[in-house]
Amino acid sequence: MSRVLVAMSGGVDSSVAAALLVDAGHEVVGVTMKTFCYSGTPAHSKTCCGLDGIMDAKRVADALGIPHYVFDVEEDFTRDVIDDFVSEYAQGRTPNPCVNCNSNTKFKDLLTRGRALGCDQIASGHYVRVEHAPEGSSLLRGLDPDKDQSYFLWAMPRSLLPKLLFPVGELTKSAVRAHARDLALITADKPESQEICFVPSGNYRDLLEKRLSPVHPALQPGPIVRRNGEVVGEHSGYASFTVGQRKGLRGGFPEPMFVLQIRPHTREVVVGNRDELFEDVVDIGGLNWLAEPPTVGDRVNAQLRYRAAAVPAVVTRIDESLTLELAEPQLAVSPGQSAVLFDDRERVLGGGRIVSASTRALV
C-alpha cells in the first residue's frame, strides 16, 4: 500500500480520516499545519499551538500508531489568506478565506512537502468525495448534505485531484463521530469549529484595524445612501458591512433596511428594502476549473454561499470571467464570495469569485 500524508487539524473529521486510512492498510503520516499564532508574540509561540489543535492531533496520531509532524506555513498563510482577507474587505467585498486556505495554502503545500516525505497521496478530513477514473479525477459533494465542504475546494489546481483522498466524504457526520467513539479517539466529541480560525473573537473589524492603516478609507465614516442617491445616514467604515447585512444600520427607517452594495470609491454603503436584495445575473472572475470548462448556453448549478442551496443557472458569457443567469433571483449575492458550479450529479466543475450582481430587468 502507498504512503499517504493526512492533514490532521486536531478535529474529529481528520482524526477519523487518518484512522480509516490506517484501517485500509496505508502507511499513514499525520501532519498539522501551523497557520498562525493566536497571541502573535514569540514568547507564546510554543503554547499557542495547543489552541490550534496540534497537541490533539499528536495524541490521536500516537493512538493510531502513526508519525506526526508540524508544517509551519505561517508565512504563506499570512500572505495568501490573511492579507487577501484584509485586502478584500478594504475593497468593499466579502471574502471566503477558507477557500484560499484549503485550495491553495493547504493542498499545494501538502503535496510538495509530501513528495519530499515519500508520500504518493494526500488526504484530509473534508466532507467531499473524489472519483478517480481513467479519463480523469473529479471532485464531488460529500454524501452528508449538512456537512458538504466542496464549496471551499473549487480553487485548487486540477492537477492535484488525482493525488487526493477524502475518506470521510463518504460518511455522515454522525457516522464519523460514532467511528471516533468506537476507536475512543480523544477528539470524538470535540465541538465543530465555526469561526474564521484567525478571527477567534468573531470580530473581524479588530483585525482590519490592526492590519490596515488607521486612515484607510474602509475604516472612515461615509454616507449611507439609497439607490437613487438620497443620503439616509452615516456609517463608521464600509469594511464593517456585507451585502445582505441588516445589523449595524442605524434605525429610523420605516421598513427593515439591508445593505445592497458597497462603493469603496465614494465610501457609500447603499441600502434598500428586502425586495431590492434579489438578483439573478452574476458576474464571476478569477475562474478555476476542476473539469472541462462550460461553454455559453450550458446549464449548471451555482452555489453562491457556503450552506446555500445551488440554483440552476445558464452560462451566458465566458472568457476570462463569466456571466450566469440564475433561474430564480437570489437574496444577497455578495461580491468576493465564491460561486461554485456543479453539474447535475453534484460534481464540482469549478468556480470563481463573485465580481458583481444585478437583475435581469436592468440588463
Binding site: V29, S45, K46, P67, Y69, V70, F71, D72, T112, R113, R115, A116, L117, G118
Partner: protein, 386 residues
C-alpha cells in the same frame, strides 16, 4: 528496519548500572534525607555518598556540589544567582556570555538584561572556536563581572577555550561559570582550574536519569538562591531532595569519567567515518565547525538547498532520528542563534545534527549516510519544483 537513534546530544537511554543503583531509593529506602529516623538517615547517607562520588568525578570537594533538577536549572542558578549575589554587595554586575551559549544561559541573560538586573556583553565566537576576549577584558577591568562560557557547544560540538578564559577571568578578578552539560564523558572535564568557580552538569546526557543536575560552586563563591522554602542543598536549592536521582547521576558521572578516554576515541572514529562518507556521497554539505577542536560525539551538517524541518521529518520517516541544531528549538523555523553567530545571519543552509553514543555502531553510520543521501535528494528536487 529498526530505527536508528543518532540524537544522543538530545538525551540518552539510562544505563543498567544506573537503574540498578537507583532502584533501592525508588522503593525500600524511600526516606526523606531531612528526617532524623532510620529511613531518613539511610536516605541522607545515600545522598551524601552520591555527592562525594560526583565531587570526585569532577575533581571537587563534596561541599562544592549542589544537586539541582537539571542543566537548565543549574545554568539559571549560576548566572542569575551569582549576578544577584553581586548586586546585593557591589551594584549592577556585568554578565559576559559567548554568542553560542545554550538557551538556558542565553535567554536567561537576555531576560535579566531587559529587567535591568545586569549589563550584558555577548562575546563573538568564530568557527575555529576562538572567542573575542577584548570586550571581556574591558568588562572585567570595569567592574564586577560574571562570565558564562560553555565547555562544548550543544549544537555543533565546538570546544570553547574554557581553561584559557578561566586564567584570564581569574587574573582580572571575575566569576567564571561554564556549562559542561555536553562536555562530560566526551572530553576531560575538571573543576581543578581555580578560575572555574561555577560549573553546570546534567545526568540525562550521560545515561543517567532525567531531571537531575548539579551545580559546582567553588568554596567562597557567593550565589543567591532562586527558590526559597527549606534548607536543603545548603539552602541554595531548597526542596526535598531526589535521592534516587542523585544516586543515579553520581553513578552515571563516575562511569562517564572512567570511560571517557576510550569512548571518545571510539565515537570520534565513528563520527569521522560518518563525515568522510557524507562529504564523499552528498555534494553541497558543510561540516559545521569541522576544522575546529570539537566533541567526538557531534556532527553538525549545514546542507545547501534544503528545508531543515522537512529534512528532519523525512529522516525520521526513514528511521533515522536526529535534530536540527538542538532538540530544544525544534518546531520553530527560526534560524538558530548559534548558527547565526558562527556563519552570519544570512546563512541559508539547513542544519542537521547527528550525535553518536554508546549504542552507535558502524552499521548505524552506513544506514544514516545512505538515508541522508536519499532524503537530501528528494528534498532538493522539491526546491527545484516550487
Amino acid at each position: 528496519m529498526q530505527p536508528v537513534y543518532l540524537d544522543y546530544a538530545a538525551t540518552t537511554p539510562m544505563r543498567s548500572e544506573v537503574r540498578e543503583a537507583m532502584d533501592p531509593y525508588l522503593s525500600d529506602t524511600f526516606g526523606n534525607p531531612s528526617s532524623r529516623h532510620r529511613w531518613g538517615r539511610k536516605a541522607s547517607a545515600a545522598l551524601e555518598h552520591a555527592r562525594a562520588v560526583a565531587a570526585e568525578a569532577l575533581g571537587a570537594q563534596p561541599r562544592e556540589i549542589f544537586f539541582t533538577r537539571g542543566g537548565t536549572e543549574s545554568d539559571n542558578l549560576a548566572v542569575l544567582g551569582r549576578c544577584r549575589a553581586i548586586s546585593l554587595e557591589d551594584g549592577l554586575p556585568t554578565l559576559a556570555i559567548s554568542a553560542v551559549e545554550h538557551h538556558a544561559v542565553y535567554d536567561t541573560a537576555r531576560w535579566a538584561e531587559e529587567r535591568g538586573e545586569l549589563r550584558l556583553v555577548v562575546l563573538a565566537v568564530d568557527t575555529e572556536g576562538s572567542i573575542d576576549l577584548d570586550p571581556l577584558r574591558v568588562a572585567l577591568n570595569d567592574g564586577p563581572t560574571v562570565v558564562s562560557v560553555m565547555w562544548v557547544n550543544n549544537e555543533t560540538g565546538l570546544f570553547l577555550p574554557v581553561p584559557e578564559i578561566a586564567t584570564l577571568v581569574e587574573e582580572l578578578g571575575g566569576t567564571l561559570h561554564t556549562d559542561a552539560v555536553q562536555a562530560i564523558g566526551k572530553v576531560p572535564v575538571s573543576t581543578k582550574h581555580s578560575g572555574i568557580r561555577l560549573l553546570s552538569a546534567t545526568a540525562h546526557k550521560i545515561y543517567g536519569p532525567r531531571g537531575t543536575g548539579l551545580l559546582f560552586v567553588r568554596e567562597g563563591t557567593d550565589v543567591a538562591p532562586l527558590l526559597y522554602g527549606g534548607g536543603q542543598e545548603g539552602a541554595l536549592r531548597p526542596g526535598t531532595e531526589d535521592v534516587a536521582g542523585a544516586v543515579g547521576f553520581a553513578t552515571a558521572l563516575r562511569l562517564a569519567v572512567e570511560e571517557q578516554a576510550e569512548e571518545s576515541v571510539r565515537l570520534g572514529a565513528l563520527r569521522d567515518a560518518f563525515e568522510d562518507r557524507v562529504l564523499a556521497q552528498i555534494e553541497g554539505v558543510r561540516i559545521n565547525a569541522g576544522a575546529a577542536r570539537r566533541s567526538p560525539s557531534i556532527s553538525s551538517l549545514g546542507i545547501d538547498r534544503a528545508e531543515g524541518e522537512l529534512l528532519l521529518n523525512a529522516l525520521d520517516l526513514e528511521g533515522v532520528a536526529t535534530s536540527g541544531g538542538s532538540a530544544c528549538a525544534s518546531g520553530s523555523n527560526a534560524a538558530s542563534h548559534v548558527i547565526s553567530a558562527l556563519f552570519g545571519p544570512d546563512d541559508a543552509k539547513a542544519t542537521v545534527r547527528f550525535s553518536f553514543g554508546r549504542h552507535s555502531s558502524e552499521a548505524d553510520v552506513s544506514r544514516a549516510v545512505a538515508v541522508l543521501a536519499d532524503v537530501v535528494g528528494r528534498v532538493r528536487e522539491l526546491e527545484g519544483v516550487s
